[in-house]
């Protein structure tokens, strides 16, 4: 479905929430709801989005939503999908919105079960690359070298030491009907993916990189700029898995040097030229793997 901003609704289904200025996660949810519409039932675990939309007595979602336990997004969604089916609700979308910690770490088992059963839901993981809501702790989606309070810098410590999990591969390995990555800096691509997912039955998963000025340490106005640089430097890719095939939505003709992306962010400011080289090597290995999977 081609997206024309002109024709999208001016109504907002998430509004007034207390997320930080320039929050990428908020962009992801706002745009997803623009496509999915009012008949969406949202399930959220503990994360920035649930914490900033439910500040009693304020509720910033204008659609029905439930906040569940941190590990339980997948299982709560499965229950919601079953309830919708039992009640014969044909026109509703069951949407999970969870952070990277809630998805790649603590919620992974429930999500895996959901994918295995092919429950009829859309699961949107917004990735701000750490546990932000609790004050910037590393997750298994935190990139190599990034400072967080639990991947410190100083002495011999140089930030995160492990290579992040590839959630896209993990979910695609469940052979779900639809799985994609996206970026808040490529809203048209993202909304097309949401629109596509809306018209598919079964477990659909979208993993969107959502830059976070507070946790990454950059000025709020640069959220879109950094998301774009991540894609242009090959540190994040836009891909889809469907019918057993992997497709790349955008292939930068030549990667921008990673330092353009890394340099202005507080979490990477301790990195040296050698570290940039390490990150470029990791990137090239990741792309070599990806390219093997793409049908030529």
């Amino acid at each position: 479905m081609a997206i024309d901003y002109k024709n999208l609704s001016d109504r907002e289904l998430i509004y007034g929430q207390k997320s930080c200025p320039g929050c990428g996660a908020t962009i992801a949810v706002r745009l997803a709801l623009k496509i999915l519409g009012e008949r969406t039932f949202v399930c959220l675990p503990a994360c920035c989005v649930s914490a900033t939309t439910n500040v009693y007595p304020e509720t910033s979602f204008f659609v029905n939503n439930v906040v569940t336990a941190f590990p339980a997004t997948g299982s709560t969604l499965a229950g919601m999908a079953a309830a919708a089916e039992m009640q014969g609700l044909e026109d509703v979308v069951i949407l999970g919105v969870a952070g990277d910690g809630g998805t790649a770490d603590i919620g992974l088992q429930a999500l895996s079960g959901l994918c295995e059963r092919n429950d009829n839901v859309i699961y949107l993981c917004y990735d701000n690359e750490a546990y932000m809501n609790t004050g910037i702790q590393r997750s298994s989606s935190t990139p190599w070298g990034a400072w967080t309070t639990t991947s410190p810098v100083g002495g011999t410590a140089k930030g995160e030491t492990k290579i992040r999990k590839n959630l896209f591969d993990i979910i695609a390995a469940h052979r779900v009907p639809y799985c994609a990555t996206a970026s808040t800096s490529y809203p048209r691509d993202f909304m097309e993916k949401i629109a596509k997912a809306k018209n598919i039955r079964g477990a659909r998963f979208i993993h969107i990189q959502a830059p976070c000025p507070t946790g990454w340490g950059y000025p709020a106005e640069k959220t879109i700029e950094y998301g774009r640089l991540a894609v242009e430097s090959g540190l994040w890719y836009l891909a889809e898995y469907e019918n057993g095939e992997v497709k790349l939505n955008l292939h930068p003709p030549k990667f921008k040097p990673v330092e353009f992306y890394l340099k202005g962010q507080h979490r990477f400011r301790h990195l040296t030229e050698e570290d940039y080289k390490v990150i470029e090597d990791q990137r090239d290995q990741e792309w070599a793997l990806l390219e093997k999977k793409i049908k030529s």
Binding site: Y5, D10, I14, G16
Partner: protein, 103 residues
């Protein structure tokens, strides 16, 4: 000016006087805004309608969804704009300036 399509502050909201009046989850209410966010802002975006070409990039990127596109010129809901500056930073025509708020 604010576009009519955007939600607004619930001016009728009163804190519950008893347990029975308390909101319990979204089964009772969704979309209940009891405070504005305008106080978060140091700079406010001002859109120059003369320079704007209506590409709607600011509209799509604004995290808070406060830019309205229903009027001839784009509108900003200053009750809920947090002054992040994304709109001004991304505008390809430099049609948005960030102007310091006066207290």
């Amino acid at each position: 000016m604010k576009s009519g399509t955007k939600p607004g502050l619930n001016r009728d909201y009163r804190l519950p006087a008893s347990e029975g009046e308390m909101i319990f989850g979204t089964g009772d209410v969704t979309g209940n805004l009891t405070a504005v966010n305008s106080g978060w802002r140091t700079f406010r975006p001002v859109i120059d309608g003369g320079k704007c070409v209506r590409c709607l990039l600011c509209w799509v990127y604004c995290p808070d969804g406060v830019i309205g596109k229903e009027e001839k010129d784009l509108t900003v809901d200053y009750d809920y704009c947090k002054g992040c500056g994304i709109c001004a930073h991304e505008c390809p025509r430099a049609a948005i300036s960030m102007v310091r708020e006066v207290s």
